[in-house]
C-alpha cells in the first residue's frame, strides 16, 4: 500500500505489514507519538514491561519460541541504554529482534538534550545493524530493511532510532514488497562441490560425530527435520551445544546429550576421539572446545555455517561450507542417497560400542539425599511431570542453567530458551513472559536461581497485568552457585560476595505482586509442590530450597581437554576440587 501518513503511523503500519502481532515496550517522551498510534488500533498488542531490559528479553523469548522477529519499543536515553543488555544478548545468540527507539528531535541531537544519548553509537557494536532515521521519507524503507536484516542470514538484533520530529512528520508510506538491499546478500545456498566433499568425508568416517548448534534451530523446523533425517540415514552419534538443544530429540537413540564444559562424558569423549567431526551451525565457543591444542586432535573437521566469519575463527577446519544449515543438510542428504553408498557399518558398530562404554560412566550421577532436595533431583522430577505435556523452558544463568541443560529433555526445537553466549542473569523470567505471550495455552517454566531471578523480578507485575501464567521455579541455594563453585575451584573456597544474604521471602513477594507463592524444602514433598505449581492458573514463584553447596558436574575444568573431565564422585574431597585447575587454567574465564 502507498499513502500519506505520519512517521508514527508508518511505524505501526510497517509492523502490521511485517506480520507483527505483539510488541514489548515501555513508553517515554520521545516515543509518545508512536504510543498514541498504538492506542488507536487493535491489531498489535503491546506488552508493557517494568524495565526495558525485560522488554528486550521478552522479545527474545517470543522470537526464539516462534521463529519470528521479536519487536521492542523503548524511548530515548535511558530507555535505549536499558535495552542494551538484551541487544548484546540477542547478538551473541543470533536472535532476530527489531528494536525501535525514540530519539530527541533532529534539531536537538548533539545538544545534550533531556533523555538524549547517542543510541546509534552505543548500540553499534551490540547490534547486527542499526539506523538513525534522518527523514520521514526514508522511514518506511528503513523499517522494512530492519526486518530483512534481522531475520535473514545469521539473525540478529537491529535498532531503528526514530527522532520525535520524524514521528510527527508526514510522508509517503510504502509496504514491504520489493524490499531489497544494495549490499546485504547472505549466502544461503552452499557450493555443491563442497557438500559432495563433505559427504565423501562422512561416508569414509570410522568414528564420526555430528556437533550441532543454535544455527540448526535458527534455520527453522524444517532444518531440524532434515537433521533428523540425516542422523537416521547415517546412524552417526549426535551431540549439541547449549543453544542447539531440541533440534534433535533427547529420546533419539543417537543422542549423546550436550557437549562442552558441563556436557556429558560420552559427548565430550566422542568429540575427542572422533575422526570426522561435522559442525552444523555452531561456532566452537570456548565453553565447547576446552583446551584448543588438544581439541579433537585426530579429526578432520567440516564446518557448516551461514556466517563466513565463523569458519576458521577459533578452530582451523578442513572443509568450510558457507550456507544455510537447512539447505546444506538437504543437499547433503540428497547427495548421500544418490551416491548409493553406505557408512562403514563395521567401524560404526565398534564406535558405538566405545560410546556405550563411555555412557556407562553415568556422568550425571549425583549422591541422592532423603533430607535435602538435590537440585538435580528437583529438575528430574520437573522433567518427569512435564513429560507428554506442551511445555517451554527458559532459564537464568548459572548452575541451575547447566543442570537444566543436563536434566531437562527436549523433543522439539524452539522449546528451550537460555542465554548462551552472553550469559545474562535475569534473562529467563522476561524471556518466559515473551514465550507465554506467543503460546498462551502452553506451560512455560523459568528455571531460575535465587540470584538471577532478582535481576528482573519486577516483571512479576507484567505477568499479572497481562495475565501471563509463567511458572518460576527457583533452585534456591542461597548462593550465587556457579560463582561459589568457581571460588571453590579457583580461589581456595574463599566465598567473596557469593553468599546472598538478606534473601527475600519469595512466597510473600509473590503474594505482594498478586502471584502464587509455593515453598518446599523436603524431597518427599517435592512432587506435590511441582504439581501445585503446574496446576495453578496464574503466575507462580516456586521457592524450591535445594542443597546449598552442590557443585555442577561433570565439568571440563578451564584449560583442560575434552577427555579430562572432573566428575562429582571424584570431587567429593575438598583438596581434589581445590587442585582441579592449574595456574594457567585459572587465568581463563
Amino acid at each position: 500500500m502507498t499513502r500519506q501518513m505520519t512517521g508514527a503511523e508508518m511505524v505501526i503500519q510497517a509492523l502490521k505489514d511485517q506480520g507483527v502481532d505483539h510488541i514489548f515496550g515501555y513508553p517515554g517522551g520521545a516515543v509518545l507519538p508512536i504510543y498514541d498510534e498504538i492506542f488507536q488500533q487493535e491489531d498489535i498488542r503491546h506488552i508493557l514491561v517494568r524495565h526495558e531490559q525485560g522488554a528486550g528479553h521478552a522479545a527474545e523469548g517470543y522470537a526464539r519460541s516462534t521463529g519470528k522477529v521479536g519487536v521492542v519499543l523503548v524511548t530515548s536515553g535511558p530507555g535505549a541504554t536499558n535495552a542494551v543488555t538484551a541487544l548484546a544478548d540477542a547478538l551473541m545468540d543470533s536472535i532476530p529482534l527489531v528494536c525501535i527507539t525514540g530519539q530527541v528531535p533532529t534539531s536537538l541531537i548533539g545538544t545534550d538534550a533531556f533523555q538524549e544519548c547517542d543510541t546509534s553509537g552505543i548500540t553499534r557494536p551490540c547490534t547486527k545493524h542499526n539506523y538513525l532515521v534522518r527523514s520521514v521519507d526514508e522511514l518506511p524503507r528503513i523499517l522494512h530493511e530492519a526486518f530483512l536484516v534481522a531475520k535473514s542470514g545469521r539473525p540478529g538484533p537491529v535498532v531503528v532510532d526514530v527522532p520525535k520530529d520524524v514521528q510527527f512528520a508526514t510522508g509517503m508510506y510504502h509496504g514491504p514488497s520489493n524490499v531489497t538491499h544494495k549490499t546485504y546478500h547472505p549466502q544461503v545456498r552452499a557450493d555443491l562441490d563442497a557438500v559432495r566433499m563433505a559427504v565423501d568425508m562422512m561416508i569414509n568416517a570410522k568414528r564420526p560425530i555430528l556437533y550441532t548448534g543454535g544455527g540448526v534451530i535458527n534455520s527453522g523446523s524444517e532444518a531440524c527435520q532434515i537433521l533428523r533425517e540425516l542422523v537416521g540415514l547415517t546412524g552417526y552419534p549426535i551431540t549439541s551445544t547449549l543453544m542447539g538443544l531440541g533440534a534433535y530429540p533427547a529420546s533419539g537413540k543417537e543422542w549423546l546429550g550436550m557437549l562442552g564444559m558441563h556436557g556429558t562424558y560420552e559427548a565430550n569423549m566422542a568429540m575427542h576421539e572422533c575422526d570426522v567431526m561435522v559442525c552444523v551451525g555452531a561456532r566452537f565457543d570456548d565453553r565447547i572446545t576446552g583446551r584448543l591444542d588438544d581439541f579433537a586432535p585426530n579429526s578432520k573437521k567440516i564446518h557448516i555455517d551461514i556466517d563466513p566469519s565463523q569458519i576458521n575463527k577459533i578452530v582451523r577446519v578442513d572443509l568450510g561450507i558457507v550456507g544455510d544449515v537447512g539447505h546444506v543438510l538437504e543437499d547433503m542428504v540428497r547427495i548421500w542417497r544418490a551416491s548409493g553408498k553406505t557408512a562403514d557399518r563395521e567401524a560404526l558398530a565398534d564406535w558405538w560400542e566405545q560410546i556405550r562404554i563411555w555412557k556407562k560412566r553415568d556422568c550425571l550421577a549425583y549422591r541422592p539425599n532423603d533430607d535435602v532436595i538435590m537440585p538435580q533431583y528437583a529438575l528430574q522430577r520437573l522433567n518427569e511431570k512435564l513429560k507428554g505435556k506442551d511445555y517451554y523452558i527458559t532459564t537464568e544463568v548459572g548452575q541451575h542453567q547447566m543442570w537444566a541443560a543436563q536434566f531437562m529433555e527436549f523433543e522439539e526445537p524452539h522449546r528451550w530458551m537460555t542465554s548462551g553466549g552472553l550469559g545474562t542473569m535475569g534473562y529467563g523470567f522476561p524471556a518466559a513472559l515473551g514465550v507465554q505471550t506467543a503460546h498462551p495455552n502452553s506451560i512455560v517454566v523459568d528455571i531460575a536461581g535465587d540470584g538471577s531471578i532478582q535481576m528482573n523480578i519486577q516483571e512479576l507485575s507484567t505477568a499479572i497485568q497481562h495475565n501471563l501464567p509463567v511458572k518460576i521455579m527457583i533452585l534456591n541455594n542461597e548462593h550465587l552457585g556457579m560463582v561459589r563453585q568457581w571460588q571453590q575451584l579457583l580461589h581456595g573456597n574463599r566465598l567473596s560476595n557469593s553468599y546472598v544474604e538478606a534473601m527475600p521471602d519469595f512466597v510473600k513477594l509473590a503474594d505482594a505482586y498478586g502471584a502464587k507463592g509455593i515453598v518446599c524444602d523436603k524431597p518427599d514433598k517435592l512432587d506435590a509442590a511441582i504439581d501445585e505449581m503446574l496446576a495453578y492458573e496464574g503466575p507462580v514463584i516456586f521457592d524450591c530450597r535445594v542443597a546449598k553447596l552442590a557443585n555442577c558436574f561433570p565439568m571440563i575444568p578451564s584449560g583442560r581437554a575434552h577427555n579430562d573431565m572432573l566428575f562429582s564422585d571424584e570431587a567429593e574431597d575438598d583438596s581434589k576440587i581445590a587442585n582441579a585447575i592449574d595456574d594457567a587454567g585459572k587465568r581463563l574465564v
Binding site: T183, S299, K301, D318
Partner: protein, 180 residues
C-alpha cells in the same frame, strides 16, 4: 600455536604480515565508525586508514586500510568486514601476484635559515617534493610517493628544522587492467 587438527589444509603461521585492504562501502552516516569500531572492538591493528567518496552518483566510498596481523587474523578481518551490512566488497590487495600500487601524500613544515635551509631545499628537489608555501625562514613541502620514500624524506629533514608533518595515509589500487 594452535593445533586443532591433524589434517590442516593450510599451514598455521604466526608470522605477522602487512596487508592493504580496499573496502567499498555505502557512504552512509556511521559507516566509518562501524569499520573502525570493528578493528578496535576485536583488537585488530590499523597502520593506516584513508577514506573518501569515490562514486558520487552511487554514494560509494573507498576505505583503504593497511593492517598487520597473522594470516589467520587477516582472514578474520576480511570476513568480519564482509559481514558489515553497508559493505559492498572487501579486497585484500596484498594477495594478488604483484603488490598493489600504493601512494601517500605528506605536507612537511621545515623552519630554519642558512645552510640548513639550503640543504632542505636541495633534498626536496632530490625527492621530487614541491614547495607549496614559503617565507624567508620556513618551507612547506608537498611530497607524494610510497610510504618508505616519505619516511625516508621525513627522517632526513629531522635535523634540518622539521617542525610538523601531516600525512594522508595510504591510497592503493590493484596493478594492471583488472578492477580491484
Amino acid at each position: 600455536m594452535q593445533q586443532g587438527s591433524a589434517y590442516f589444509i593450510e599451514e598455521v603461521s604466526s608470522v605477522q604480515e602487512t596487508h592493504t585492504l580496499s573496502i567499498l562501502v555505502d557512504n552512509e552516516p556511521g559507516v566509518l565508525a562501524r569499520v573502525i569500531g570493528l578493528f578496535s572492538g576485536r583488537g585488530y591493528n590499523i597502520d593506516s586508514l584513508t577514506v573518501s567518496e569515490t562514486s558520487h552518483e552511487d554514494h560509494i566510498s573507498r576505505i583503504t586500510i593497511v593492517t598487520t596481523a597473522t594470516p589467520q587474523v587477516l582472514q578474520q578481518i576480511r570476513a568480519q568486514l564482509g559481514r558489515l551490512v553497508p559493505v559492498h566488497e572487501v579486497a585484500d590487495l596484498s594477495t594478488f601476484d604483484i603488490p598493489p600500487l600504493e601512494r601517500e601524500l605528506a605536507l612537511i613544515k621545515v623552519v630554519g635559515a642558512g645552510d640548513k635551509r639550503v640543504e632542505a631545499l636541495r633534498l626536496a628537489e632530490a625527492f621530487r617534493a614541491t614547495v607549496i608555501d614559503a617565507t624567508t625562514d620556513h618551507f612547506v613541502f608537498e611530497i607524494t610517493g610510497r610510504q618508505t620514500k616519505i619516511e625516508q624524506f621525513i627522517n632526513i629533514l629531522q635535523p634540518l628544522g622539521l617542525v610538523e608533518v601531516c600525512r594522508t595515509g595510504v591510497v592503493a589500487l590493484r596493478r594492471g587492467r583488472e578492477k580491484t
